[in-house]
């Protein structure tokens, strides 16, 4: 004797039973009718669902050789605790993260050697020009901020990133609907048909970056993406000359979560694009498994500027490769109010005139 298969209603999830009068399966909770074949197909879709498996094989970075570390100097900021690295010919005097003076620590120590580096493509002049442009045409930016902007203090920093490579295998079920409307002389009819759409397949991601420095805000670093990997080269301490480098203090296992989240979103939307011909499509369940995954440790070039305005810290970052610049700017409250009330007055007066003209000519 085989145990009876229990079917669940695809609409409300309730247990479904056979309705002898209709000769079909009927949900006693929401009253919808189904063919047995439909429920069998739906069940086989459900049984395909597995949990997410987003583990990574870890092999990022390598150990430093004695020769390499000999040519490096390490600095510690007493104020924010930031640790920066430069080559022996570049003297760091102030911390790029908080602007306070830094002191050289005894010996360069620890952490991994990066696998890859994207060398700076844009120089300090480019960064200053870009910053000036960033301040332009912003009516609500305080004038004082523009004049006292400390633009000269912009610093080139190699920021540590974890790069995740992976194949993503996905089983995703979407609930889709088609809407049809028509009408007769008395009523307007709306018919919504629901479908369960199953997609299974794979997609490969390369170099999904996650900021490995706790000193650099993650959203700031994500804002200057993307970096172009075609310029990446094997790491060599020679590239550090003239620039500062930050050591990672968020390790790859802590960074995986962020990479997984972004990968999962992309997988869902990529497969959603293959569910076509419907009015609405929403993912109902999605399982993403990663395989052949790899983590790399890389340094990305970033020009950064930290300034303080009215006791609040403002950080600007420019992609040292593409020139994309970001950084939230302070708001001039007085200017805001002035604009707001002037605009209200002028557009209000214009609207009043418009109502009169409409009355005069159109009504």
């Amino acid at each position: 004797m085989t145990s009876p298969i229990e079917y669940k209603c695809p609409s409300c999830g309730g247990g479904i039973t056979f309705d002898s009068s209709q000769q079909r399966m009927k949900c006693p909770y929401c009253g919808k009718l189904f063919d047995i074949q439909t429920l069998e197909d739906f069940n086989s879709q459900l049984s395909n669902e597995l949990g997410d498996d987003m583990n990574w094989e870890n092999s990022a970075g390598s150990e430093w050789t004695e020769e390499e570390t000999d040519g490096l100097k390490s600095y510690v900021c007493k104020s924010c605790g930031g640790e920066i690295v430069s080559d022996e010919n570049t003297a760091a005097t102030s911390c790029p993260f908080c602007g306070n003076p830094v002191v050289m620590s005894d010996k360069f120590s620890g952490s991994l050697k990066p696998d890859l580096i994207i060398p700076f493509k844009l120089n300090k002049e480019d960064a200053k020009k870009a910053l000036n442009k960033h301040y332009m045409n912003k009516k609500l930016l305080p004038k004082v901020f523009k004049s006292k902007n400390h633009i000269d203090e912009v610093k080139g920093v190699y920021v540590p990133f974890w790069l995740f490579d992976s194949g993503a295998y996905a089983n995703i079920r979407y609930k889709a609907s088609k809407v049809r409307t028509w009408s007769d002389s008395k009523y307007e009819y709306t018919e919504t048909s629901f479908f369960s759409c199953f997609r299974s397949g794979s997609l490969r991601f390369e170099n999904v970056p996650v900021d490995g420095s706790s000193k650099m805000p993650d959203d700031l670093m994500e804002s200057i993406e993307p970096f172009n990997m075609s310029d990446a080269v094997g790491f060599n301490t020679a590239y550090l000359s003239g620039y500062l480098a930050d050591k990672y203090d968020v390790d790859e296992t802590q960074s995986i979560g962020r990479a997984n989240k972004r990968i999962k979103k992309s997988v869902e939307s990529a497969f959603e694009d293959s569910v076509i011909g419907y009015t609405t499509v929403n993912p109902e369940s999605s399982n993403v498994r990663l395989s052949e995954s790899r983590v790399k440790y890389a340094l990305y070039p970033v020009w950064i500027l930290n300034t303080t305005y009215k006791k609040k810290k403002y950080t600007f970052a420019m992609n040292g490769q593409t020139g994309k610049i970001v950084g939230d700017l302070p708001l001039d409250k007085a200017a805001y109010n002035r604009w707001f009330w002037l605009l209200t007055a002028f557009s209000g007066a214009a609207a009043y005139l418009a109502t009169y003209l409409i009355w005069l000519w159109l009504l």
Binding site: T38, S196, G348, W359
Partner: protein, 274 residues
């Protein structure tokens, strides 16, 4: 008799005929009843005279009778029949088509009815009558009868004047409402705030440029997507129906609807309660 005299004589005869005809036509239009019959005694004597003078002036000038009748009883008739009959059997109406309009107010069941005849049917379309009644009904309901009748008379004058231009007030062509300064001010203030909020909002947005990435789309290896399995199954259908919204402008075509009264004449008009 010279030719000159014959010409003079025939000219005189012609003039006589014209004068006779016009006098007879005028007298033909004259009714023995006044244009204001206040049977229910709703307005004061002094106001009555002012109103009657106004009705007479409008009627004579426009050559369309504008009549107001009030009564305590409809004598068992419908308001429509009472109004039509009152107009027909009391000799109202100018010319051979009995051009005129009559407003009946009955206190029996608080009915009002407008009956139009001849040119009145053309000048007062269904939409026009709806418009006019909309203007005087509030006063009528409040018991301000003089105000209501005065408004009615004024609007009748306006409507007849408009009709003589060849384009009577009708659907899509009703008299202009007066400019509503207060409403316009409210609209202007709201619009002003909305524009200011949108523009300053955009200015504020210029200051923001830091934003987390949502997904990792730029790191997908091009051409790496493979779909192994793809199956769409139909689950169920939900159907709903909604009653169509009735168009309020059912008389969108405009014009006047007519009926035949007990005397056999054609009347237009509309009525209701107040």
């Amino acid at each position: 008799m010279t030719m000159k005299n014959i010409k003079k004589l025939s000219a005189a005869v012609c003039l006589c005929i014209i004068v006779f005809l016009s006098v007879s036509l005028t007298s033909f239009a004259q009714s023995e009843m006044p244009r204001l019959v206040d049977g229910a005694d709703l307005i004061a004597e002094s106001s009555e005279n002012v109103l009657l003078a106004k009705l007479d002036e409008i009627s004579e000038r426009q050559k369309v009778d504008v009549v107001i009748v009030t009564t305590d009883s409809l004598d068992g008739k419908t308001a429509e029949a009472y109004a039509d009959d009152f107009f027909d059997y009391n000799g109202y109406g100018f010319g051979e088509n009995y051009d005129g309009i009559l407003l009946l107010v009955s206190m029996e069941n608080r009915d009002w009815h407008i009956s139009t005849c001849g040119y009145g049917i053309k000048a007062f379309t269904d939409a026009g009558i709806k418009y006019i009644s909309g203007k005087f009904l509030p006063s009528l309901s409040d018991g301000d009868y003089y105000d209501a009748f005065n408004t009615f008379a004024g609007l009748c004058d306006e409507f007849i004047t408009q009709a003589k231009t060849g384009k009577p007030y009708d659907v899509g062509n009703l008299p202009k409402e007066p400019y509503n300064a207060l409403l316009s001010l409210v609209i202007a203030v709201v619009a002003g705030f909305a524009v200011a909020a949108i523009v300053t909002g955009m200015m504020k947005k210029q200051l923001k440029s830091v934003k987390s990435q949502y997904a990792a789309d730029s790191y997908v290896l091009k051409g790496s997507m493979v779909i192994n399995d793809s199956k769409d199954i139909f689950l169920y259908t939900q159907r709903s129906r909604r009653e169509k919204v009735k168009d309020d402008d059912s008389g969108g075509s405009g014009g006047s609807s007519t009926h035949t009264s007990s005397s056999g004449r054609t009347h237009g008009g509309d009525g209701g309660k107040f």
